[in-house]
Symmetry: C2
Amino acid sequence: MATELPDIPKLHEALQLATLKCSERCVYQGAKWAAELLTSMAPLPATPTGELPPAYLHPLSTNKTEAALEAQEFSQYLLAKSYFDVKEYDRCSHVLEKCLSRKAVFLHLYSKYIAGEKRKDEASEMVLGPLDGAGTQNKEISYIMSVLQPKVDRKDGEKLSEDESFLAWLYGICLLKQKNETAARDALISSVIAYPYNWSAWQDLASTVDSLQDLNNILQRLPNNIMSNLFVLSTNQELYQTTEPIHSQLTDLLVIFPTSSWLKTQRALLYYHARDFEEADQIFDSLLAVDPYRLDYLDHYSNILYVME
Amino acid sequence: MATELPDIPKLHEALQLATLKCSERCVYQGAKWAAELLTSMAPLPATPTGELPPAYLHPLSTNKTEAALEAQEFSQYLLAKSYFDVKEYDRCSHVLEKCLSRKAVFLHLYSKYIAGEKRKDEASEMVLGPLDGAGTQNKEISYIMSVLQPKVDRKDGEKLSEDESFLAWLYGICLLKQKNETAARDALISSVIAYPYNWSAWQDLASTVDSLQDLNNILQRLPNNIMSNLFVLSTNQELYQTTEPIHSQLTDLLVIFPTSSWLKTQRALLYYHARDFEEADQIFDSLLAVDPYRLDYLDHYSNILYVME
């Protein structure tokens, strides 16, 4: 898959919007990834004083009915989000029970999912031993799936809307929890096709890839855009594909995102897999110099230092 | 202090903005309080389809220079906020080191403060015994104060701007940590005068009130608005002033916020202080029926149930 060269100001705006969209839905890891990619681009020329970046509006749905619902439910949504941010997940979910916009439905179910995960973790902590808790389940999953299934499971193959992409992602997560990998992959593919800028969905899709053949099967169903390029790169890296074409794709992507720590880490990991520890060490070293508080992939770096000693 | 009867649509908008402003600055308890008050008002008549609530814009500063800085620093700010939301507080602070808008300066220092509090808690957990950790300090305070002092400590008595109000609040918090209550009170008063909708600032101000005389001294320096009314009410309640005028002020406020759990809790606590446990119990009971996941003030409710047994 050749690297798609995007319109830079448009990509900039899309990543600002992605950060906001993820953040508004409390998908904080997705927001972080988008913001890191955004700030790794060369800055755009300054806008004339007083002109707002286009993303400065709350990213209201482009669908008119959805936008009207979102405006109508704005106060309830604000309350729910504020509960999520102080970790009152059940309360967040409860507030949105009767809301209709897809953004609100997502947060209603996502916070229920997080609440269920928390309870699951607490229940499995009660018993000792590394495997004792394995049977504990997130008890909210079946309710969440019963709401989502009619909304995102399109038998007719009709494309989902951008607003539905987050619902499909959550549906995919639930299917993964149920070990239904084939259906999960379908849901996750429909999610990233409908909205490619939620990196969390790509990561969950990557978790279903165990071989190059898996990857190739998925690729046939994906559009060629900057996000699918990044997905292909990181999945190849995870499959230990340390070939020249991968390195060269990485070089192309670094032209668009010259200071991206994430991309540089992919390079370091490629060297690491090829047992070129010196090169890998140098990259990790320089990343830490620029961003001393960075924790991502620190375990890999620590492995490299250990091996080199 | 008589209850100020505000313009309802304006108050509605101010509380939506307050939720956003607090949320944008990661002041999540403040956001929660504002959102709860917002949703306790009678809903406004529906706006014509497609028309956005005025608060739907990100609340950009009304000061032109600040607004231009905020727009310029938007991507850095998005990155920093995303770090805060995944609890990488030092990284959040680091990203904003060179930013100039007051919003960014606030988040730079606030995340440093939170990082310092976390380290303080971790350090005091190392030692056993309830008092052993008392000597542990937040080591970021002196840096934070050195940045804030020239920005908010106005010898000339000049009023702070809305953007500076959050800085003054943080300055007040640091002064409280240093047990400098008089200076803290000055900073907090200047904060709530500059921007009255950050409830966290009012709460910290309330923590400096030990007597009715304290309260009266502060009142002379405060404007009469809906937020100062709420402050007076809750501070009187905390001072066990279970008099008729307080009850009647509460009744006035419930006209504006008819379903406010917070206000109803104030009533319950007034009854509780007057040892009218039945009335208090009834209120807590009905609150829990409406909002079954509510945890606020549950300790008081539990006390009441214990006493009544």
